[in-house]
């Protein structure tokens, strides 16, 4: 897998990344402009509104950060699984399970004297929930031989089903049967935030810590080295006395744990309740973030920020330009396609480059 074959970033690689990112953006802008023109909307205005709608004020930036935090957490988690060569599509379900475990913990703390304890505990529970959920997919992969993509997708459906059942059943609002979510938690169980900015310092701190831990783990720890080695050649790693399946499970647990924390933040910091769309597709989006970041831990936060801007800013399109709101999703769709196209292009170029170097070596 090419994703594991990335050495530490040097200036040349950074340059390469910037070039490819620029290329992706150009493809996206061209495509979106075309769509906007077809829809009869002024493209420049549209871009301006997205920019203004995401970075136009401190409050808006804080909303962007609110999206950035779970994206970055999931992105950091995915770096572990990508490093060992696993496609952890199940990250979406791991976010959901984190949210479920967090909700469970907060419900236990409903009438408690020490709500902060339960709030803190909810993070640990969420990490556990996401981690366990990921572990199931991991076991299906290592013991059952089920491809992790299919296992993950299946687990996502199960997690979604579980949330629906909880909301419609055991955790319903009294006298109400609605898919709109569980009863809102009292403010004492909300993640503390700066009210003028609607910004929770704890959430930001968690995301930053996740990135730092991941960077250190991948670069300096033995686990990080082993993940990379197994991702590069799991067969050879047996010779080095490593057990690839153990590390696969470990990587899944890391990814699930971080995703679970993201789910917890969605509950305690954003919606203050459990709802069917609690994961907000951040898991799937984070897969794209990490791919677009070329699996580089230092680039992930920036790409995540860009995606968050797009997510928050695109709401301006229906509001200001009366574009049919589904058009707002086109940019993200285009990003997906452009990311795939550029990474395919990158893969082909890498192959050509490899062939050339091999020829040169042979000579």
């Amino acid at each position: 897998m090419t994703m594991a074959q990335i050495t530490s970033p040097g200036p040349a690689q950074l340059l390469k990344f910037v070039r490819e990112f620029g290329l992706t953006l150009t493809v996206v802008v061209l495509f979106t402009t075309l769509v906007l023109l077809i829809a009869g909307a002024p493209p420049l205005d549209a871009y301006f509104y997205i920019l203004k709608g995401s970075l136009g004020s401190w409050v808006k930036i804080s909303h962007v950060l609110k999206t950035w935090v779970p994206l970055t957490l999931c992105g950091a988690g995915l770096l572990y699984t990508f490093r060992i060569g696993l496609w952890n599509i199940g990250i979406e379900g791991q976010v959901m399970m984190g949210a479920v475990f967090a909700t469970l913990t907060l419900r236990l703390g409903l009438n408690s004297q020490w709500p902060m304890w339960f709030l803190g505990l909810s993070f640990a529970a969420a990490a556990l929930g996401g981690g366990l959920w990921a572990l199931i997919a991991g076991f299906l992969k290592t013991k059952g031989g089920v491809n992790e993509i299919f296992a993950g997708l299946g687990m996502n459906f199960v997690a979604q089903g579980l949330i629906l059942w909880l909301i419609f059943g055991p955790w319903k609002r009294p006298g109400v049967a609605s898919m709109s979510g569980t009863e809102i938690f009292p403010q004492s169980l909300w993640l503390p935030y700066i009210s003028s900015l609607r910004l929770s310092p704890a959430a930001i701190a968690l995301a930053v810590t996740a990135v730092l831990i991941t960077a250190v783990m991948l670069r300096y720890s033995r686990i990080g080295l082993c993940l990379k080695a197994i991702g590069g050649n799991s067969q050879a790693c047996v010779l080095y006395g490593l057990t690839p399946t153990h590390f696969m499970l470990l990587a899944m647990m890391f990814a699930g744990g971080f995703a679970g924390i993201a789910g917890c933040l969605q509950v305690s910091g954003v919606y203050h309740r459990l709802l069917p769309a609690i994961s907000s597709n951040y898991g799937y989006l984070a897969l794209l973030v990490v791919m677009l970041s070329n699996y580089n831990v230092w680039v992930v936060p920036f790409v995540a920020f860009f995606f968050a801007c797009l997510n928050v800013g695109s709401i301006q399109l229906p509001m200001m330009l009366q574009l049919d709101s589904s058009l707002a999703g086109v940019i993200q769709g285009a990003l997906v396609l452009a990311t795939l196209a550029v990474s395919a292009w990158r893969g082909r170029r890498a192959k050509i480059f490899e062939a050339q170097t091999q020829e040169a070596v042979a000579k």
Binding site: Q5, L239, G241
Partner: protein
């Protein structure tokens, strides 16, 4: 039909797989192509069947010069090849596979082809169920199906590449009968083989290749000694092996049976003593690889006992073998031995003590520098291993070897290395035997084995057919054993 190949060349860069080969095949003839691994047999036949393009030379069919740009073109001229691994579609039925390449696809002709397949099948005494999926067939049955398909599209010259590998004795008899039947009907059969016994039973004529050149033609009955001389280089005799006095048993196997590779490993009984250098001879894929992997704990045998230092190692992982002093270096360096994407330093870090949480990068870097120097690896500590040349990759792998392993298992340790590197490798390995380490290695080069081993085991079809001390044998005897003639 008469096929003539004249002065065929096939070059891969500087490697000459075929270097001016002449061959002629008459109708009604079973013609054997003999030679050791890499002699250019398969290349020649792939040229003839249009699978690869020749570099130079001419092919004439019934006096008419032809140019095959694809296998399809060759089969239009009546030439078809049955590959070592049948190229069929596993999830389709026998009938579907039979119809492939024959039907226009416009109308449903299943019944027509069913009526065609059945008598053809009985004609050759094959027993194929048209409705059975190919995935349920044995290799031998898949061969039969492919032969029928080739015949039904009008093949008059049938090429078979090592057809008796991996099929049962009964299937072999059926196959041979069918091939003889074909010859009686005026068709030609070209048989690639390294097994003397097969050619002896089957062929009217043989052509022997060595290093891309024809070294002999012969009509049946064949003189085995002469054939062997033509197949193998005259081997140099200076044995520079170390005269170590064998000590206690380090590795013992009794009645070990294992799957894997093309042949598996059948009823293997062997003892390896301290300080011994054991060479594993045999055609590639005759069981040496499986033997080494079982002996190193990389794969687990189906039955039998493996002991290291008198302790049973059944069910133990490679790691436990490693802890017991057994080190394995596989042949495919980039597939099994090294991790592409990681650089030299990272490999040393991977080899370092496993108990620490953080990697000691400074230690790994200095280890890398030291070993690069010591093993004269042309690379930098930060060079990704896939950028190293084969010889340097091998030196790197050897630099990972522990100080004093008890048993070194090496698979083709000098494959792909130039003479200078190969010599360096052996000089290095012999420092281990001086420290009482036992070495078991496989090699495709008989002269290498004769040169350095104290003891030689010859593998044939997954069995050890010969176990001799190097001074008690010679290359001709070994060559016969390798070809299955004991």
């Amino acid at each position: 039909m008469r096929v003539e190949l004249e002065n065929i060349h096939k070059h891969y860069g500087s490697v000459r797989a075929n270097d001016g080969v002449d061959l002629s095949v008459q109708g009604g003839e079973i013609h054997g192509i003999l030679g050791e691994n890499g002699a250019g047999k398969s290349t020649l036949m792939k040229v003839l069947s249009g699978y690869i393009r020749k570099t130079a030379g001419t092919i004439t069919v019934d006096g008419r010069q032809v140019e095959f740009r694809s296998p399809g073109k060759a089969s239009e001229c009546g030439i078809g090849m049955l590959y070592q691994d049948p190229l069929d579609f596993l999830n389709l039925s026998v009938l579907d596979n039979f119809m492939l390449g024959q039907v226009s696809g416009l109308k449903n002709e299943r019944e027509y082809y069913r009526r065609k397949l059945l008598p053809l099948s009985t004609h050759f005494n094959f027993n194929l169920d048209p409705n059975s999926p190919v995935s349920r067939l044995t290799i031998g049955e898949r061969q039969q199906l492919e032969i029928l398909r080739l015949l039904s599209i009008g093949i008059k010259v049938l090429i078979l590449d090592e057809p008796t590998t991996g099929i049962s004795e009964i299937q072999k008899q059926t196959l041979f009968a069918a091939l003889k039947q074909l010859a009686r009907e005026g068709k030609s059969v070209l048989l690639i083989s390294h097994k003397l016994e097969d050619t002896q039973v089957l062929c009217n004529r043989v052509t022997v290749l060595r290093r891309g050149k024809v070294t002999g033609h012969m009509e049946a009955p064949f003189d085995t000694r002469q054939l062997l001389d033509q197949m193998f280089d005259q081997l140099p005799t200076p044995p520079s092996r170390l005269k170590a006095s064998p000590g206690d048993t380090i590795l013992s196997m009794s009645d070990v049976v294992s799957t894997g590779g093309r042949t598996g490993l059948q009823k293997c009984n062997i003892l390896v003593r301290k300080g011994e250098v054991v060479g594993l001879a045999g055609l590639e894929g005759s069981g040496q690889g499986v033997f080494l992997r079982v002996a190193s704990g990389m794969s687990r045998p189906k039955s039998g006992i493996v002991e290291v230092d008198g302790r049973s190692m059944i069910g133990k992982s490679h790691r436990e073998f490693k802890d017991a002093g057994v080190t394995f270096v596989p042949t495919s360096r980039l597939e099994e031995g090294l991790v592409p994407g990681l650089d030299i330093t990272e490999h040393f870090a991977l080899n370092a003590r496993k108990t620490r949480f953080f990697v000691r990068w400074s230690n790994a870097l200095s280890a890398a520098k030291e070993k690069i120097e010591m093993f004269r690896i042309s690379g930098r500590p930060r060079s990704p291993v896939q950028s190293l040349s084969g010889g340097n990759q091998q030196r790197l792998l050897l630099s990972f070897l522990p100080e004093a392993p008890r048993l070194l298992l090496l698979e083709n340790p000098t494959r792909g290395l130039d003479v200078e590197s190969a010599h360096w490798v052996w000089r290095h390995l012999q420092t281990y035997t001086a420290r009482n380490t036992s070495i078991v290695f496989s090699s495709a080069e008989l002269d290498e084995i004769v040169m350095v081993a104290d003891r030689i085991l010859v593998f044939f079809d997954g069995k050890i057919v010969k176990d001799v001390r190097a001074e008690d044998t010679d290359s001709r005897e070994l060559g016969r054993a390798i070809a299955g003639e004991i």
